[in-house]
């Protein structure tokens, strides 16, 4: 059968060239931003952004600042890991911020102590039922269930009624926020047990964020689940024709995203020692921003958890940098808008230069 083969007709690119991973560009951007703040700080404030310039300093870097940078993005970062997967399959999740609010309220209600300063807890939600001083596993599992349920509802709506993800998750966003306000008539829920409060103590949020990022990086790179996420975002019809159940996969992706959002809620409420109905407002947009800055394409099929982590760091560095330069917080928000749009514009350019139609 070995007929002579013909040339590589239509070859238009250098065959030896391995395409450079998008994440390197994001890392480069992160470094550029860090250097910019460092230079601005040295020039205008006579202070260093990254390094420890105090007398008799024991460490090279300004560890406190670096910790804050990571700590302030780690909770939204947990959400962004799930949002990354949703965007990779070509979807969007607007509900994560509200799911955080609802989950924080519900989980916290199951984590309340019986006595505050020797007196019975006056504001306990389940005072009559006596559900107080419960083991930490109870609020955590109930909290995660909230996210799983919200995510499954999102997933089933999107996969089986075929309404756009934007609409389905917008509905969940509004409803879940309503639920979190109704739960305690708008009152905050406080006084968690010590074991619950330990979850988000100190640098725990960072450890949880990094741990989950590593786990999901491995899942997205080395498992069938990850491969199918990229395939669906790339060409859903092809995946369907390969016999893979696209609806089932979508439900799984949205469920995981919901679960990660609720986990973020547990960590957040534990760290703040309180839950409020307004918790997590705008978190969904921050999470999407992290993913988009990190090179996750809104068109689906491209991006990675590593990219999103870098995107989260960029967001954290910019926030800290503005504070460091003593710039008004309003400038931060205005700049952030420009950065989101800029990231999407870059993604469009990349697609135009790479894609050659369908």
């Amino acid at each position: 059968m070995a007929q002579p083969t013909h040339g590589l007709g239509g070859l238009k690119y250098d065959p030896a060239k391995k395409t450079r991973a998008q994440e390197w560009n994001v890392l480069l951007a992160l470094v550029v931003i860090l250097v910019t703040f460092e230079l601005l700080g040295r020039i205008f404030l006579g202070d260093s952004f990254l390094f420890n310039t105090r007398e008799n300093a024991t460490s090279l870097f300004n560890e406190q600042r670096l910790q804050i940078i990571i700590l302030q993005v780690s909770i939204v970062g947990i959400i962004a890991i799930g949002v990354t997967q949703v965007i990779i399959i070509g979807g969007i999740d607007l509900s994560s911020g509200s799911v955080v609010g609802a989950t924080a309220m519900i989980a916290m209600s199951f984590a309340q102590v019986a006595t505050v300063n020797g007196n019975p807890n006056p504001k306990a939600i389940f005072l009559e039922q006596g559900w107080l001083d419960l083991p930490v596993i109870v609020p955590v599992v109930i909290g995660l269930c909230c996210g799983v349920i919200a995510g499954m509802v999102n997933g089933f709506l999107i996969a089986y009624t075929r309404i756009p993800p934007f609409i389905a998750t917008l509905g969940m966003m509004v409803s879940a926020r309503g639920l979190s306000k109704w739960w305690s008539n708008g009152n905050p829920v406080s006084f968690p047990t010590e074991s619950y409060a330990a979850i988000g103590k100190g640098l725990n949020p960072v450890l949880i964020f990094v741990g989950l990022a590593v786990l999901f990086h491995l899942i997205m790179t080395y498992t069938k689940y990850g491969k199918h996420c990229y395939a669906i975002g790339s060409n859903e019809d092809a995946v369907r024709m390969s016999g893979i159940s696209v609806p089932r996969h979508k439900v799984l992706v949205y469920t995981l995203a919901g679960m990660l959002a609720s986990l973020a809620a547990v960590v957040l409420s534990s760290k703040n020692l309180t839950a409020q109905a307004g918790m997590g407002v705008m978190y969904e947009l921050q999470a999407i921003t992290m993913a988009v800055i990190g090179g996750v394409s809104l068109a689906g099929g491209r991006g990675s958890v590593v990219g999103t982590v870098l995107g989260a760091l960029i967001l954290g560095v910019i926030t800290s940098g503005f504070t460091f330069l003593k710039l008004n917080a309003y400038y931060q928000e205005m700049t952030m808008g420009a950065i989101i749009v800029g990231a999407v514009v870059m993604d469009q350019w990349r697609q135009q230069s790479r894609g050659r139609g369908k």
């Binding site: 059968m1 070995a2 007929q3 083969t5 013909h6 040339g7 590589l8 007709g9 239509g10 070859l11 238009k12 690119y13 065959p15 030896a16 060239k17 391995k18 395409t19 899942i219 080395y222 498992t223 069938k224 689940y225 491969k227 990229y230 395939a231 975002g233 790339s234 060409n235 019809d237 092809a238 995946v239 024709m241 390969s242 016999g243 893979i244 996969h249 799984l252 099929g301 491209r302 790479r354 894609g355 050659r356």
Partner: protein, 254 residues
């Protein structure tokens, strides 16, 4: 009986009031390469979609490999041994060549349900083997196929089909968008299938190609099979007159 790999009896497909395919009776023998020709909208692709169960037929029976089959979807058809190259490329642009070849039939190191760990090395090795046996040259299989030319992408698609072909290959206009050299490469793959004795149904508008490659030509017109001719018994003009309706207004048995 045992010589027949695929047989359809009274295969019919209606979309609402439109009779896309009417009473198609078709037989394919072991090792036989058959071309399906006809004008646009004659029912060629519809015919193939019923066999591969991309759509569910309105009426009729399909016999494959000696037994009646009712595939619920393309995956079942594929598991039964029918490999198809679709007219619209069924490739995921952001995945590399091995991932595309093994889409939906990945090899695993550890099975953990949806989170099963892929055996990337084995898939890559088998991809290289498949590309070698089908004589498809892809410079860097680890790049996403988005970066490849139309011809290379089509070759990936066809290599996938040829590599996994076990009992029957169906190609729906595999060279429609290709240049001369790329077309030649695809035709070589088809000749390779013939040499391996794998039966094939080829949908094509290119009569030169049809006469070059297949044993028998089946003509569709207005949803009906109007002729089934051995290559030696016919010529281009004859086929065209069947396609355009000058000849053969009765339903034929293919």
């Amino acid at each position: 009986m045992s010589d027949i790999i695929l047989e359809t009896r009274g295969l019919t497909k209606r979309y609402g009031g439109v009779h896309a395919l009417e009473d198609a009776n078709f037989v394919l023998h072991q090792g036989e390469h058959v071309a399906v020709v006809g004008d646009n909208g004659a029912g060629k692709s519809t015919f193939v979609r019923q066999i591969t169960a991309v759509e569910q037929r309105s009426a009729g029976t399909v016999m494959f490999d000696g037994r009646e089959v009712n595939f619920a979807g393309p995956l079942e058809a594929r598991e039964a041994g029918i490999e198809t190259v679709f007219q619209t490329l069924a490739l995921a642009d952001d995945l590399d060549v091995p991932s595309n070849l093994f889409l939906g039939r990945e090899l695993f190191k550890v099975r953990l349900g949806p989170f099963s760990i892929l055996d990337r090395k084995a898939m890559r090795e088998r991809t290289m083997e498949a590309l070698k046996t089908t004589a498809v040259k892809i410079p860097n299989v680890d790049n996403p196929i988005r970066n490849m030319s139309g011809g290379q992408r089509q070759c990936v698609s066809i290599a996938r089909t040829a590599a996994f072909a076990s009992k029957l290959v169906i190609m729906d206009e595999p060279t429609a968008a290709l240049g001369v050299q790329e077309t030649a490469q695809v035709e070589n793959i088809i000749r390779g299938l013939k040499a391996r004795g794998i039966p094939m149904i080829l949908i094509s508008h290119n009569l030169r190609q049809v006469f070059d490659l297949v044993d028998r030509i089946v003509v569709f017109r207005r949803g009906r099979i109007v002729a089934s001719l051995r290559k030696e018994e016919t010529d281009g003009n004859d086929i065209v007159s069947y396609i355009t309706g000058v000849k053969g207004s009765e339903t034929a048995y293919a």
